[in-house]
């Protein structure tokens, strides 16, 4: 635990940049939208609002080649090679919701019966610097899903803005080894208390969407798990879904993907893995047209079951929602997760 200056924060970024590809929040120069993407130690902006996109794309790209092959029909010969990306990556200034999301994806891709090799390579050489949310944003409700505003685990280093300086916490041996090359001033228990105060204050600043739902997320989870939700609720939710897939694409924990082979002009074929969404009609449709999940309400039901049921939480070891609120602002309907919780809650009230 150290007390460092803002300039020291930049030094850390600079040092990381030398060994890793640096990813972090930055503001788009034209319109000021915040993204989490490749940055330099000069462009990374820890004061930027919560990034529009979660860091998921760093380890699970929107579109990636996972295999390449060439089949020579005349020689009857097939050459196959997997394509992996194991460049070292540093995620700098990760907010706690996104860090929790990354942990969920880890547990899903790495902690089940089968290990996803493509993901494992992406994740294999990664350094994580988390950033405590001193002020929550309008959309946030991580306090309802136990994933913020401060990161508890999973980071190598954690930063908390104490006003005139930063509190630097070390969360792993890798983080400890990295920080050894610096001569930072140690922090005291006083500083840690100061951080706790800041976090407590941050919690009081959440918007209505979080404060109203706080106790409800767990009650709704109970309902979703046991299935005691009226058909009409799903129908109401389903009617509002225009099947854009945005909720899955912006969700820090959604991992559904599609695989397609595309023939390139050089005669090779690439196997592409792209994001997919359970809200799409074609998602569960089988060749020949039979679709066990045709009605839209069945598909909506599937997503919220995935995010809010105990049985699904088992694979993440926590709820599938991390309270980042992104699904609410990209939804063309009115069925972001907080609203769905509200609809179900209203039903419980009645």
């Amino acid at each position: 635990m150290y007390l460092i200056t803002k300039n020291d924060v930049k030094k850390i970024a600079k040092a990381l940049e030398e060994k890793y590809t640096l990813y972090g929040p930055y503001l788009d120069a034209d319109f000021g939208q915040c993204f989490f993407d490749k940055v330099t130690s000069d462009t990374v902006n820890l004061n930027a609002p919560i990034p529009a996109n979660p860091p998921k794309h760093v380890v699970f790209p929107h579109l990636e080649t996972i295999m390449q092959y060439k089949y020579d029909k005349n020689a009857r010969k097939a050459d196959i090679a997997m394509v992996f990306d194991d460049t070292p990556k540093a995620l700098f200034g990760l907010r706690s919701c996104d860090l929790t999301g990354l942990q969920c994806i880890d547990r899903f891709f790495l902690g089940q019966e089968f290990v996803d090799e493509v993901y494992r390579h992406h994740r294999s050489r990664m350094f994580i610097v988390a950033n405590t949310c001193v002020v929550p944003f309008k959309q946030c409700f991580c306090v309802c899903t136990d994933s913020g505003p401060a990161a508890q685990e999973g980071y190598d280093l954690n930063l908390t803005d104490l006003g005139d300086s930063y509190l630097l916490e070390v969360g792993s041996p890798k983080g400890k080894a990295f920080i050894e090359s610096f001569t930072f001033a140690p922090a005291t228990q006083e500083h840690l208390k100061q951080k706790q105060k800041i976090v407590e204050k941050s919690i009081t600043m959440f918007d209505d969407i979080a404060t109203e739902s706080k106790a409800w997320v767990s009650r709704v989870m109970n309902r979703v798990t046991t299935g005691f939700i009226k058909e009409e609720i799903w129908e109401y939710i389903g009617n509002q879904c225009i099947e854009c897939g945005a909720c899955s694409y912006v969700c820090p924990t959604c991992t559904c993907f599609n695989i397609n082979d595309a023939n390139t002009m050089s005669g090779d074929t690439v196997r592409l893995r792209t994001w997919d969404s359970c809200s799409y009609e074609g998602y569960s449709r089988m060749a020949g047209g039979h679709n066990p999940r045709k009605p839209i309400e069945d598909r909506r039901n599937k997503r919220f079951f995935c995010k809010l049921s105990y049985s699904q939480s088992k694979k993440y070891l926590r709820p599938g929602c991390v309270g980042c609120g992104r699904c609410a602002w990209v939804c063309p309907g009115d069925i972001g997760l907080p609203n769905v919780v509200t609809y179900i809650r209203r039903e419980i009230h009645e």
Partner: protein, 656 residues
């Protein structure tokens, strides 16, 4: 730092997005939160546009049929020598509603100035042109009168016969938002669409009776004396309304008089109201658009905030293509080629004479086997044109210009590749007249030219160079010749989410909603032609392409997820289908995906049955498929099919 702002180019909504660009490849997409129209949303197509931009099905080298892959110089030389050997009336240009304004303008100039022909058109002519004609006649503005940004300000919103959440999902989302916050959303349709389910009022009409329903609402409004009687041609319009069979309206259209009265009253008494209807190939007929427009004139909902008569373009630059004069009778900004003063202005700027007489559309020239057409230049077109495959094969010269491989290209003697829209600068005009700049995001992935540059090279080879250094030069020329675009330049548009025309030098901020100097009722051209079923032909066949097959088909085929979602029915019914109600299927004795014969008076076709609750009993629905059997059927009824969404043909359906 690889997310670069841009404009989605699937449909006419013109949503703002960011493309994740690395080198020359696009690896992802993300919505723009601050874009005034899309506000952080995208639809399934928009969310997967990188699949298209990353396709391997690109045209990478110029090609001449007898020589194979050649240099641009040789390909252009072949094109120029072929085209110069024909008379102007034998040459035609098929422009693409997907090209940027700069590209379309350059093509239009090439046709008129260099090859002296007015035979230039886009294929998706009928629907949007009908809308623009009516709006231009009635208000002097050839574009959407309202604004998508204003949807939330309207008290009453009407969606007329459009599956808007499928065609332009983000506009559908805006309507839904408005409805949630208190606007009265009314859907008038013969199918139970998603927007119908989200509406507070759904008025289910018999197919083909949209015009009657709107006239009936106007009739009721007028008899209650709620209407505005001050606009020009009111007296004639009143006479026309007297012919509306109001007493028989339920029998004719399936709509109760009380429902008509409800809409009339709410519409007349609201402070603001807007109507949305589909445009493009399956748009509405001139007279139906006129009926809708006239109702809004009568309700006095023109030229005010939150009001508008809003045709919705399904293709990203459909509006822009008309603005750029890609029509046989139009120069830029809906200026008529017949107008000698306008012609003079262009001749002065272009320093040469222009052909004065109106040209013909490519569709007219192709469908009429005795037309003089000999040489055709096609830009980025989809399989829709393939239904004229016989004629295309017989043409002495066809050239194809485009970025992606395409079934049409096989008919071409010369193929000229061009960049995709992210590899050059260009502007696109969305359905609400918003001109947006899409900046170049990467170098061309292959050694290919942007289209505006290619066109310039062709002009140069003909000895009349346009001398464009940059795409912004093209826009500057457009601005100098087009009053509505007068204030627009790439400089003005940079770092901005576009400007809505009319945008003049004095009004660089553009115009959100059009305020006409004079508003006039637009009188219908034809009497009602109610199609009736007979004992011999007991089903009313609707012809449409809205949901299933549209201009975007060509590009949709190069994606994975949009293809899976939007062309689902195409994948399941690869040879086309006719949709009928479950009870009718029982009557005919067929099950889903069984083959049937659809017989009409003039033609017949084979298709698979699709059983659907969306189709009312007694009606059948066939999408605008380009399969040979269906194509020849539709050609026999091309006069009816050209009416677009309302087209109906009495048929009988036989089990095979």
């Amino acid at each position: 730092m690889s997310y670069m702002p841009g404009v989605c180019t699937f449909c006419g909504t013109g949503c703002g997005h960011y493309l994740k660009v690395s080198g020359t490849s696009v690896q992802g997409v993300f919505p723009s939160r601050v874009h005034p129209v899309s506000k952080g949303r995208l639809c399934v197509r928009g969310w997967n546009i990188h699949e298209l931009l990353g396709t391997h099905e690109r045209i990478t080298r110029p090609y001449v049929r007898d020589s194979g892959e050649v240099t641009y110089r040789d390909a252009i030389a072949t094109l120029v020598s072929a085209l110069s050997s024909y008379k102007p009336e034998e040459i035609a240009f098929l422009a693409s509603p997907r090209s940027s304004n700069e590209d379309n303008y350059a093509l239009m100039k090439l046709a008129r100035l260099v090859f002296k022909t007015n035979n230039i058109s886009i294929q998706a002519e009928s629907g949007h042109r009908n809308s623009l004609d009516v709006l231009y006649k009635g208000t002097g503005f050839a574009g959407m009168l309202g604004s998508l940004e204003d949807i939330r300000k309207a008290e009453v919103l009407i969606v007329a016969g459009m599956d808007i959440t499928t065609q332009n999902p983000i506009i559908g989302s805006e309507l839904h938002y408005a409805a949630r916050s208190g606007s009265l959303l009314i859907t008038i349709d013969s199918r139970m669409t998603k927007i119908a389910k989200l509406s507070k009022k759904f008025i289910n009409i018999k197919p083909g009776t949209m015009r009657q329903v709107f006239d009936a609402i106007a009739y009721y409004m007028d008899t209650q004396q709620w209407g505005n009687t001050k606009s020009a041609h009111y007296e004639e319009y009143k006479k026309y309304l007297a012919t509306v069979p109001f007493d028989a309206i339920e029998k004719e259209t399936g709509v109760l008089q009380s429902e008509i009265a409800f809409v009339a009253e709410r519409l007349a008494k609201a402070k603001s109201a807007a109507v949305f209807f589909t445009s493009g190939i399956s748009g509405l007929s001139h007279d139906t658009v006129a009926s809708i427009f006239n109702l809004f004139v009568l309700a006095d909902k023109i030229g005010k905030e939150g009001c508008g008569v809003n045709p919705i373009a399904g293709i990203n630059n459909l509006q822009g293509s008309f603005d750029m004069g890609c029509a046989p009778d139009l120069l830029t900004g809906f200026q008529s080629i017949d107008d000698a003063v306008v012609r003079k202005k262009f001749e002065k700027k272009w320093k040469d004479q222009l052909p004065a007489s109106k040209g013909k559309t490519v569709e007219e020239l192709l469908s009429n086997n005795s037309s003089p057409l000999k040489a055709l230049v096609i830009v980025d077109h989809d399989d829709g044109i393939v239904r004229f495959s016989e004629r295309l094969k017989s043409l002495p010269f066809v050239a194809y210009i485009g970025s992606f491989t395409n079934k049409v290209a096989v008919y071409a003697h010369v193929v000229l590749p061009v960049t995709t829209y992210i590899e050059t600068d260009g502007t696109f005009t969305n359905a609400e007249r918003r001109v947006q700049l899409s900046s170049q995001k990467c170098n061309p992935a292959f050694d290919v030219l942007p289209m505006w540059k290619l066109i310039d090279a062709i002009a140069e080879a003909m000895g009349k160079p346009f001398n464009y250094e940059h795409a912004s030069d093209v826009m500057d020329e457009i601005a100098s010749l087009t009053p509505a675009y007068e204030g627009i330049s790439h400089k003005l548009l940079s770092k901005k989410h576009g400007v809505q025309w009319p945008c003049t030098k004095d009004n660089p901020g553009g115009t959100k909603y059009c305020v006409p100097h004079n508003v006039a009722f637009v009188l219908p051209q034809k009497p009602y032609a109610a199609v009736q079923v007979t004992q011999e032909y007991p089903y009313l066949l609707m012809v449409g392409k809205a949901q299933h097959y549209w201009h975007q088909n060509n590009i949709m085929h190069k994606t994975f997820i949009p293809l899976r979602e939007y062309n689902a029915t195409l994948l399941l019914y690869p040879d086309g289908y006719v949709a009928i109600a479950p009870e009718d299927a029982k009557k005919i004795g067929v099950r889903d995906r069984w083959p049937v014969k659809v017989v009409a008076q003039k033609a017949e076709m084979k298709a698979m049955v699709m059983i659907s609750d969306d189709v009312a009993p007694g009606t059948a629905y066939v999408p605008y498929f380009i399969r040979e059997g269906i194509a020849s059927f539709l050609l026999a009824y091309s006069d009816i099919v050209s009416q677009g969404e309302e087209a109906t043909i009495p048929v009988r359906i036989e089990k095979v």
